[in-house]
Symmetry: C2
Subunit: 287 residues, 2 copies
């Protein structure tokens, strides 16, 4: 069995990329005229991944955002299935960004949904409900080498409302969550990761340096680069302060890669996405 | 436009019930032999709701748990659609228990998924990502009279890990979340509610007394009764300490109602569920 952190390392080296290609379908921005939402979304990402493959520029992972697919109902969900299948065909690690989380039995059902039905390799989950909401995902991941990313310090403005609150002893809540992630991941052999936004580099460096001391690697999924304003090079510099093995981390960019054709003023949307991905890889500057 | 809190009051009085019938499909426990998962689940809950209607014993709301449907893939999701449609036919308020929550644009897409596609009347969401993760749901609810329940103090053991932590000033995190819920709900006219578990009655009474002072009603969705161990009568007693208008609250029971036939030793599962619901209504003791 390949552990999630090993799959991440392998894909990073194979594709020479730490980039995670976030998939956020917005029908109005997909320049395909024929077909329903399913056909447009599946066609759009299919062509983009084909172009990535043809130009030998596959990303280090893909991250379909469940919300963006599900807003189009069954058509969107069938497109999600097609996109996951397409990504798996090229052995791309698939992180389903679904922010799941519920009490024990429900989380177990969610783990079956995400890993069994959607066939994702990893999932994002929310920590608010605590240990027993996380454990069913971890148990599944230990048995099958799947990845589980717990929301830790997110990239949005509202993250300040609760995540930054000082709890007993003045430690911020996101650090208490980080301690729990290390505790939960003791037997998970690098399958348990954390979502840490790129928009606050000090906090990213602080959290990463905390994880660097843990027994197992804690893969970071880092959103906030691109449209949200952070620079990939700065993120890598922040990571380098503590991480020995950068290949388990992923820097995500979504709309800047999806709709690169808009900025580039071209109708070749697949080519534009590949170009933007190459640009991101260069900004990351590792391979 | 009918506000969510008004729909709740109306349904409570119409159906003489504060009970929320949680729908947690588990194929192995559904005693229907023919058909695929979709047919079994839709058939099971269809028959139960038919029996409730025939015996003039409809619940005050239904709460399909997204996880339990989604674990069966597209068959489960099509069953969810059928079950929501069936509940709406009898004007039952439908709370989709989906624990959604993401940054702004993604939460907006989730609001479209839940209210637009699934046609739910209300949804449960997670608070960890803060204000901008909650606002798209609230904006949708203000325009369309939909309900939004924020996880506040949940009924599971792991709730202690983060929700009970003392933050600045010694106040517990769940109370800080409660303050935010009141702030977020200032213009929401009773559409913004909270999930507060029944397993800790002191905390339930404390939180409810805090909400009773707010300008707008904060409808509570209270899981934890039945299989999880809490008694409905105790919950009502705790609520009565502060709530003037109990009809906006809902006490949820899932597996005890779904699979009542097992305990009652009968093959008439629909009749057994009605009997269990009558029993729960009696325990609540309000009508």
């Amino acid at each position: 069995m390949t552990e999630w952190s090993e799959s991440l390392e392998h894909a990073a080296k194979q594709n020479k990329s730490l980039a995670c290609f976030g998939l956020d379908p917005v029908i109005e921005r997909i320049p395909i005229k024929e077909g329903n939402a399913e056909q447009k979304i599946a066609g759009f990402y299919g062509e983009i991944l084909d172009a990535c493959e043809a130009e030998d520029c596959l990303p280090g992972a893909v991250k379909p955002n469940y919300a963006f697919f599900a807003q189009y109902g069954f058509e969107g969900l069938r497109a999600l299935k097609a996109v996951v299948d397409r990504a798996r065909k090229t052995k791309l690690p698939v992180i389903l960004d679904a922010k799941r989380g519920d009490i024990g039995n429900s989380s177990k059902a969610y783990a079956h949904e995400v890993f069994g039905f959607w066939q994702a390799d990893a999932v994002t989950i929310a920590p608010y409900m605590g240990s027993d909401s996380v454990k069913p995902f971890i148990e599944f991941s230990e048995r099958h080498g799947k990845g589980v990313y717990v929301l830790n310090r997110t990239s949005n403005a509202g993250a300040k409302d609760f995540q930054d609150l000082p709890v007993g002893g003045g430690k911020k809540l996101y650090l208490v969550v980080a301690e729990k992630i290390v505790e939960w991941g003791l037997h998970a052999k690098g399958n348990l990761g954390a979502v840490v936004g790129a928009t606050s580099l000090d906090e990213l460096a602080e959290i990463n340096s905390f994880y660097a001391k843990a027994k197992n690697p804690v893969p970071l999924l880092i959103p906030g680069v691109g449209a949200q304003g952070a620079k990939a090079g700065d993120v890598v510099a922040a990571l380098k302060k503590a991480s020995k093995n950068l290949a388990v981390h992923r820097i995500n960019s979504s709309s800047e890669l999806n709709y690169a054709y808009e900025k580039q003023g071209t109708s070749d949307y697949a080519g534009a996405s590949v170009k933007a991905l190459k640009h991101l890889n260069k900004d990351i500057g590792l391979f």
